[in-house]
Amino acid sequence: MRRGLLGIEDLTREEIEAILERARDFQPPHRQPFPRLETLRGKVVVNLFFEPSTRTRTSFEIAAKRLGADAVSITAAGSSLSKGESLVDTLNTLAAMRPDAIVMRHASSGAPHFLARHLDIPIINAGDGTHEHPTQALLDARTILDRKPALSGLRVVIIGDIVHSRVARSNIHLLSKFGADIVLCGPAPLVPPEMAAMAPGVRIEYDMRRAIEGADVIMMLRVQLERQHETAFPKAEYFSFYGLTLDHFELAKPDVIVMHPGPINRGREISSEVADSQRSVILNQVENGVAVRMAVLERILGEPWEDC
């Protein structure tokens, strides 16, 4: 783990617990300015984003700065990648400037894994194609644990475009490691049966109302039209079968929470009323994003923690 963070699948339960525990220390105290720490003073973190991103990139930048590190952000449009340089050459060039870690988002699954085999520098995966988005799953777990005593035994329903979702994959791995009961739901072409075999405790339910029965957590996903080679479902009927509305809350546990990795599309996968309801913890997720990424950066770049 000190080598970087490529995915949740490779982490142990203990490693995940340590990060989630440490992230609590970084949750901002209410109505007080966040104290700037010196933990990573002198360290340089490069945020290399080959795909557009607002929240994740900003979140990593703020996390690095709050720990006293210097953060440099590069987006594909302004980089030499748009001049035809290969990914390996771009990374080698950056690595030659000796940053302490590279935070990377890329549209190709496995791009950070491929680079990690050829580079010495720690790589933190900020989302690779349709594969993993490990810090998202960590911040989701932190958000759930702020409201529920434990992940074990929780029923978590993930609804939407599962097959194209790196958020779903990372969450499936994380929740499964802690013994949660995971239900995947969405149009059949977007939820292939093989997904149930990805990890223990996963099942598929194509009927949304049945999927939500007894849910403790509902995770909504955006429909990623940009990742689909052709329309895999009839768009016109998506919301009526897989859109989350206030009515659905009756089927879930009384204290159900609604999550969404963002960006949300009101009226496409989630009704405006649900997004703004008391059950929605969407903004808490964003807040926890910074805390969790601070914990991750500290673990990779700071003094070794006691447990490792």
Partner: protein
């Protein structure tokens, strides 16, 4: 030239069902005698003790990349790699640049082969112009120029009507139609076999049915037209079952299987390592078992490598950007021995058949025989020789293989084309009288291999 005597080997010749100790005497480019205890005072002697002496191996499926992609392979380097794999003849797929869709390109390939190749090269012509799947290529002219089959390998003929017309023509000319079976709509966006592993890795899947639907379609067209039809690199259990069924009904169909598809599964592949990326993709364990069974039962006609060189920088990219294909000439026999013979699925005789008479009959070549009067193309291998594949020493220009560093039992030892030793693993030749002699400069392969 002169005389070459291969002594003390175990001669396996599928055409005559011979399998036993015998010597082989070669005079110039022709086999003059096969029998026990042959003597020839003035002949060079090759001691094949403990080795199998077989007819020259034939590979139906090789990408030589010339013309057009000489940075990845040339006819010369590909032929050297073939010789080091025990092959004496290789069939060159037409997806060069320009595509081999006219007599000029066919002639160019044959001329380059004549000048630079240590093994025999048989061009395969395109089915359609530019392999675009639209207008038919001049099939009769390609055949007259030397093409032994037609195929749009890598760019399957998606239009059933075009395929039907191609088969009708091919039948009239007596030329085999070879198809890379892949429904491009079903496989679009896919980078590995569709299954739990593709879902886990977040990679687009190539479902087995992308192959199966085209095999099914083509077998129906083969029945309709009576064409001689061959499925390239067959990789799924359903396709195999359909070919078996078509054969049982007497259709003139055949199929080949690659070494990697009987050796590796999708789950074996190293995530995002493009040395495991090829088409068709590495399939499930169930498919691998079905292919091995199909080979044992005689449904499969040939083992073919689908040797597909790509340069290092092409393969050093994001997985989904990397081109499909791996090299395979130098490891084919070792993998086949490892996966088929050593576990007892097939005999050595059947193995030799898969590399000789099997592929020869697919494209109608009169070769793959080891008998007096036949051309002296001979492959000598040791079924138990232990070695490690080091791709940095490969004769191919490219290095894209998942088998680098793999231990094998069994290897080619020498390759003889038209009576000449064009490659040997170590110096095996002795001049008459038992005096060791340096090999001719042509056999630089031997010197490199011995290093």
């Amino acid at each position: 030239m002169g005389r070459l005597l291969i002594k003390n080997g175990r001669v396996i010749d599928p055409a005559t069902r011979r399998d036993g100790p015998a010597d082989v005497l070669i005079e110039n480019d022709t086999i003059s005698a096969v029998g026990e205890n042959l003597e020839a005072a003035d002949a060079e002697v090759l001691d094949a003790s403990g080795m199998v002496v077989a007819p020259g191996f034939i590979d139906l499926h090789v990408h030589l990349r010339e013309p057009g992609f000489e940075h990845a392979e040339t006819i010369e380097t590909g032929a050297r790699a073939a010789a080091a794999g025990g092959f004496t003849r290789i069939c060159a797929m037409p997806n060069t640049n320009p595509v081999n869709d006219c007599a000029t390109v066919t002639g160019y390939i044959l001329e380059q082969a004549r000048r630079f190749a240590v093994v025999k090269v048989h061009p395969i012509g395109a089915i359609t112009q530019g392999s675009e799947g639209k207008e038919l290529a001049p099939i009769g002219t390609l055949q007259a120029a030397g093409a032994v089959a037609i195929s749009d390998d890598g760019r399957p003929v998606m239009n059933a009507r075009v395929m039907r017309r191609a088969m009708e023509l091919a039948r009239s000319f007596g030329i085999t139609v070879v198809q890379h079976c892949e429904d491009l709509n079903l496989s679009a966006g896919g980078d590995m076999h569709e299954g739990v592993e593709s879902v886990r890795r977040g990679l687009g899947g190539i479902p087995s049915c992308a192959e199966d639907v085209m095999v099914a379609r083509d077998l129906l067209l083969a029945e309709l037209t009576g064409a001689r039809y061959h499925v390239a690199h067959l990789s799924t259990k359903n396709s195999l079952a359909m070919v078996a069924y078509a054969k049982s009904r007497g259709l003139a169909v055949s199929c080949e299987v690659t070494p990697h598809h009987i050796c590796l599964t999708d789950a074996d592949s190293v995530p995002y390592d493009s040395n495991y990326k090829m088409k068709p993709p590495l399939r499930s364990a169930e498919d691998v078992a079905a292919l091995i069974e199909g080979i044992a039962k005689g449904v499969v006609d040939a083992i073919a490598t689908d040797h597909a060189p790509h340069t290092g920088y092409q393969k050093m990219q994001e997985f989904e950007r990397c081109p499909f294909g791996i090299i395979g000439l130098e490891t084919a026999l070792a993998i086949a021995l490892d996966r088929l013979v050593h576990p007892g699925h097939i005999t050595l005789l059947r193995l030799v058949e898969l590399f000789t008479t099997g592929p020869a009959s697919v494209v109608g070549l009169r070769s793959g025989r080891l008998a007096p009067g036949e051309t002296a193309d001979v492959t000598i291998f040791d079924a138990n020789f232990e070695w490690t594949y080091d791709v940095t020493q490969s004769f191919s220009k490219s290095r894209n293989t998942p088998f680098h560093g793999r231990r094998f039992r069994g290897a080619p030892m020498a390759t003889i084309v038209d009576g000449k030793v064009v490659w040997s693993r170590a110096p095996l030749l002795q001049a008459a009288g038992g005096v060791e002699r340096r090999q001719p400069a042509l056999m630089s392969g031997a010197a490199e291999a011995a290093r």
